[in-house]
């Protein structure tokens, strides 16, 4: 089959298209930043997850180490159960504390992990023992008003 200039143009077109896709993947998207291909899952129960969503980041010391995979309601304990995956290269002690935090004043909510001091590491399928719920603004305001009323009567 003879080569024509038409083939060359189609080749150039495909190369430009692929380059655009690579640009989107590497420069616009976050393909290069967090490698979450190999992960292990950890469960945690919270009294209140606030506005946490599936695929929200899991951070430790501000660094993204994983993502929330699933959120469900446990009818035995009446608490929210959150399943999240952490990249295999980040290992955490078994007594790690999970808390639901908010980035900025009105930003998205994420799970913050504070590493404990245990020698054993979290394994796939383990559950966090100590958790801290999301701060609910209404409760905070209610508590503040209650405290003020209490101090005024003293």
């Amino acid at each position: 089959m003879s080569r024509t200039t038409l083939d060359l143009w189609v080749g150039i077109f495909v190369v430009i298209g692929m380059a655009a896709l690579f640009f989107l993947a590497l420069r616009v998207g976050n393909l290069a930043s967090v490698d979450l291909s190999q992960t292990y899952t950890v469960r945690a129960q919270f009294d209140n997850i606030g506005g946490l969503k599936v695929r929200a980041p899991v951070k430790s010391a501000g660094v993204v180490v994983g993502r929330v995979e699933e959120i469900r309601f446990d009818i035995n304990t009446y608490r929210a159960e959150v399943v999240f995956s952490i990249a295999t290269r980040y290992e955490f002690p078994r007594d790690t504390i999970g808390s639901i935090l908010t980035s900025g004043l009105l930003g998205e909510q994420y799970i913050g992990l504070d590493a404990g001091g245990d020698i054993d590491m979290l394994q796939n399928g383990d559950a966090l023992q100590i958790t801290q719920s999301a701060v609910v603004l209404e409760k905070l305001i209610g508590q503040f008003l209650f405290d003020r009323a209490g101090s005024a009567t003293d």
Partner: protein
Amino acid sequence: MNFFASIGAGVVNGVWKLGLVARFFALLLRYSGQSFLRLHLTIREIYFGGVLSLVIIAVSGLFVGMVLGLQGYETLQRFGSGDALGVLVALSLVRELGPVVAGLLFASRAGSAIAAEIGLMKTTEQLKAMDMMAVNPIARVVAPRFWGGVISMPLLAAIFSAMGVFGGWLIGVVLIGVDEGAFWSQMQSAVDFRHDIMNGVIKSAVFGVAVSLIAVFEGYDCTPTAEGVSRAITRTVVSSALAILALDFVLTSFMFRGL
């Protein structure tokens, strides 16, 4: 009574046509193997559908991105979050505008051309002549045009999005003076490869299939007269646009539900 009768006839005709499209699609897939044996036919169609659409796609993408940059900054800076301009530009392009606008442009530029070409071939009885020479017109004429469109469309949408992000950067960073580091880093932390970019690519591939199928079908199905061809071209552009927008809604509700 005549009014109701015409509604009924319209519905019956619509369902009839839908069945015809489905049968045509099955036939097209069956003969696709034959047409891949002569790959240069498909490559020629990628040239006419994709390469020649490159300029209009790139320029439109640039302008859409620049408009997003201006409008997005105007709104975002009211909340003091002009730095999030990159996120707004990239997400709206990659998720929606890239596939949809590139699909609409592709339908009106390449889809209409495909319908006109096949329609005119049918009108001048070239398709019949091929059939008589034992050349399958679906394998020889229709399938290469279809696959050319299907292959071109995701690439064109990716180019559109990339040019749009560049346009947004041009307006946001170069012209308005949004911090360059914040522009890119916020964009990178918000745009997910699998969730946003791959779903955009899937969308554009689906649009490519829809537009190409409508174009080749309308051309192949047209009344073999000058008026019939012109009607087929009109129908191609109108139904493609409707199909793209309707499919976009369906795909979006599947892909981005509850997030």
